[in-house]
């Protein structure tokens, strides 16, 4: 009996590596610590009422952002481990199998569990406020989306200490990811972690499309809508077309592994190439899903900190939609070398290059917005400006990669690694950081201290170029991706060492950001944003106090202009005041425990499918079904009213302290 348990435990828990024991211990300690603190300060009720069951989009947004930052940390540690391994050819910090696991988890986490939730967090914080709405269209669904993402991410991360991590790359190409070549449970963790959070992403896409179509404040026509909201809208349109493809693709892979199917196997008529087509039909648009909102943020930030209207608003909007549509016609540029034939390659090469046109339009619009503007160099603006030169490099190397014959040289080399990190870090992460700094006061009611923020900025930026520029050369020198070691005679060592130093500089930048947040919390009284409009904003979210009250707007604004709040401030300065409509009772959604509980059941079901344990997945699925039925039966009184008097009191209290 005891032997049996021991045997089970040795396959169930990941063993062997001191790093993993370290992780086990630190996870256990963190858990005990959290439970202790919550119990000691009697915070369980607070946690449950204010966070776990909340349907307030602003709180959901904050939870997304917190989780994303945690994942940035995990993905970043993975990255540093890989970079240490590569700094000198003969260190063996990571064995080859371990290296495979780490680049797989790094890529997956960074894109699906860091970039996506950070983006959704910003959607949640900014969109309803920008369009003058009190909520998103489906607050319950919104909370559910968050918890599905969270549970999916936790399931994926669990593979590190239980069962073993996936190691077939972040897109899990078969046949490598098939049972025959990946017999462990790692791939199953990959499939279910992504699948569960993917349902959440799809629901968020639907939610925000409906919100933006239906819930704009009166007077806000499409062409008066803030650019960030436009970028969210286009990103969500891509989500609803791309994510179902991912869902199906992963489901088919799972059917192969779990049910003995032959979609992508090498025998019985399976076709691995079909997987590669399908996954990139999601994967390429995914890049634009994450980058378009960053473009939206750059547009907002650059115009606010240049004290000018955005140059070429309409062309910005059209460019975003061009990009959204074109992004679905470029997927094959990821496998020019895999025998599609010259005609197919030519089509995809050209469609890829065409995307450079609307992107170029946007860059020029940003430059023209800054031209002759009164620029103030606050942290959000610094990140936005830093993006421009970087994206020129990323865009240029992207066009180089899209030349099909040349891609036979670059394919899967470090040149590619450098290119997509430039796009993803310099384009996406810089953008979200700019957005985070920009909306921080709106979320928490205080601004972050600038000095440590500037240090963070410079460390990140210098580190970024030091890390990735050498990689372009390494790629041209023949270094391929997913290598864990190489010989001294290749001559790659010096550049790799430089690159590793750059990665550590970025890591220091991250530490400065943590420090900045801690200092901000410590001095929040001094840094308090009493105006609600610390940057001189243009859009509606800056017309209400910081942090926004739970009902957002005491009275729904009547929109007249594109940069409505800016125009209104102008008029107020001239002594013209808009008539305020009287305060009325406000309709609000009630908290609900179902999203959280249902996602826990999803987690249990997912865990069961990972190990093929029916005593987990059957109860899990039943739990999910019961939650859905409960929701359907009890959805009739999911709301309440805040009486007008209470709104008036709240408003007086917030505005009174101004």
């Amino acid at each position: 009996m005891l032997d049996k348990i021991k045997e089970f435990a040795s396959t169930f828990f990941v063993t062997g590596d001191p790093m993993i024991y370290g992780a086990d211990v630190s996870i256990a300690l963190a858990m005990i610590g959290i439970v202790f603190v919550l119990t000691y300060f009697k915070k369980w009720g607070w946690l449950w009422k204010n966070w776990l069951t909340t349907v307030d989009h602003k709180k959901v947004g904050i939870m997304y952002i917190l989780a994303a930052i945690l994942m940035l940390f995990r993905g970043g540690v993975d990255a540093l481990l890989m970079r240490i391994q590569l700094a000198t050819p003969d260190v063996t910090l990571l064995h080859p199998e371990h290296y495979n696991q780490i680049f797989t988890t790094h890529g997956t986490i960074m894109i699906l569990f860091m970039a996506m939730p950070l983006m959704f967090g910003l959607f949640n914080i900014a969109v309803p406020l920008q369009i003058g709405a009190r909520d998103v269209a489906f607050p319950f669904l919104n909370a559910l989306s968050f918890w599905l993402f969270f549970m999916g991410a936790m399931l994926f991360n669990l593979s590190f200490v239980i069962g073993g991590s996936p190691d077939a790359g972040w897109l899990s190409y078969p046949p490598l990811s098939e049972l025959q070549f990946s017999p462990g449970v790692g791939q199953n963790f990959y499939i279910w972690g992504i699948q569960i959070s993917g349902i959440g992403s799809l629901a968020t896409g639907i939610n925000f499309i409906v919100t933006i179509i239906k819930m704009r404040a009166p007077g806000m026509t499409w062409m008066k809508m803030p650019v960030f909201t436009w970028s969210v809208f286009s990103s969500c349109v891509i989500i609803i077309f791309a994510f179902p493809i991912l869902t199906v693709t992963l489901a088919l892979l799972f059917l192969d592994r779990f049910g003995g199917g032959h979609f992508f196997t090498l025998d019985f008529g399976g076709n691995p190439m079909m997987y590669i087509n399908l996954i990139w039909m999601w994967g390429h648009p995914e890049v634009y899903i994450v980058v378009l909102p960053a473009f939206g943020i750059y547009s907002e930030v650059i115009s606010v900190f240049s004290k000018k209207k955005l140059f070429g608003y309409k062309s910005m909007v059209y460019a975003m939609f061009m990009i959204a549509i074109l992004s679905f016609f470029t997927w094959a540029h990821h496998f020019f070398t895999m025998g599609s034939g010259a005609d197919v390659n030519a089509f995809f090469a050209i469609s890829t290059m065409v995307i450079a046109i609307p992107t170029g339009v946007k860059v020029f619009n940003w430059l023209f917005t800054m031209y002759r503007g009164k620029i103030t160099f606050k942290t959000p603006m610094m990140w936005a400006i830093a993006f421009i030169p970087n994206f020129l490099i990323a865009g240029l190397t992207g066009v180089m990669l899209s030349v099909a014959p040349a891609d036979f040289q670059f394919h899967n080399s470090y040149f590619l690694i450098a290119h997509f990190h430039s796009a993803l870090i310099g384009g996406v992460v810089f953008g979200y950081l700019a957005g985070l700094y920009y909306w921080w006061p709106k979320m928490f009611g205080f601004t972050l201290p600038e000095t440590p923020g500037k240090w963070a900025f410079w460390f990140w930026n210098i580190g970024f170029y030091v890390c990735f520029i050498p990689q372009y050369s390494l790629g041209l020198m023949g270094m391929t991706r997913r290598l864990s070691t190489y010989g001294w005679d290749t001559g790659w060592q010096p550049l790799n060492l430089v690159s590793t130093v750059g990665a550590f500089l970025m890591g220091i930048g991250f530490l400065f950001q943590v420090l900045q947040i801690l200092l901000g919390i410590k001095n929040f009284r001094k840094l308090k944003d009493t105006t609600g409009d610390p940057w001189g904003g243009h859009t509606l979210e800056w017309s209400i106090p910081s942090p926004a009250p739970e009902y957002n707007f005491a009275t729904i604004p009547q929109v007249e202009e594109r940069d409505d709040w800016w125009a209104e401030k102008d008029k107020r300065a001239k002594g013209i005041f808009r008539k305020q409509s009287p305060i009325e009772a406000i309709h609000m959604p009630k908290n609900s425990a179902i999203p959280f509980i249902m996602s826990v059941f999803f987690f249990i079901a997912g865990f069961g499918f990972v190990f093929g344990w029916s005593f987990f997945y059957i109860p899990g699925l039943i739990g999910v079904a019961i939650c859905m039925i409960c929701r359907s039966f009890f959805s009739y009184d999911g709301d309440y009213y805040i009486p007008a008097d209470e709104v008036k009191r709240t408003e007086a209290a917030i505005r009174g302290s101004v």
Binding site: G132, A133, R134, A137, F138, L202, G205, I206, N207, I209, V210, I213, K214, M215, A217, I240, F241, F243, P244, I245, T247, V248, T249, L252, L255, D256, G259, G260, G261, H262, F263, T265, D267, F268, G269, G270, N271, M274, L278, F553, T555, I556, S581, E584, A585, I586, H587, I629, S632, F633, S635, Y636, D637, D639, Y640, Y641, I642, P643, E646
Partner: protein, 202 residues
Amino acid sequence: MAQAAAHQSHDHDHGHHDPQELKMLGFWIFLVTDVILFSTLFATFVVLRNSTAGGPGGAELFNMTGVIIETFLLLTSSFTSGLAVLAMNKGSMKGLINWLIVTAILGLGFIGFEVYEFVELVHEGANFGTSAFLSAFFTLVGTHGLHVSLGLVWMIGLMFQLKKRGLTSETKGKVSALSLYWHFLDAVWIFLLSVVYLMGVM
């Protein structure tokens, strides 16, 4: 926090939007995502249609009588779900429930035949794992069947809610969404019939 009970009249509450209208739009968009989901499965099926790996193909396997009966059942049920909505719009609770029951029975019949068909195939040795073609076939047709089954559970649950709540704007909204869903499954079946079965036996 003071909480006043939510009341019926939402009319002049600024900033509040007709929840039924939001839900309907959301549901339409959800259906778009479902279209993409089925399109992906169709594409997969079409690519793998001839990858029988030496095993049996559609022409040898499909029992067209069963398929015709299934088609008949599902098309009729789509029609009766339409009648249910008509009854609802006339304010007839009884008509609504009765037509929903007829719809559910027809839907159940469809599922019954489909399950029978699947069991037959497996008996003949045409399993999910026999060839890529069969993997794709079972997945595509099975996904549709799963959708129909979920629709049935939804329909039955909704009947209980109708009994309890009566005809309110909320229950009406739910019935409209359900009937939309049901028509959608009907449309998907027409594609299945042509792409999988008719082209398969031809």
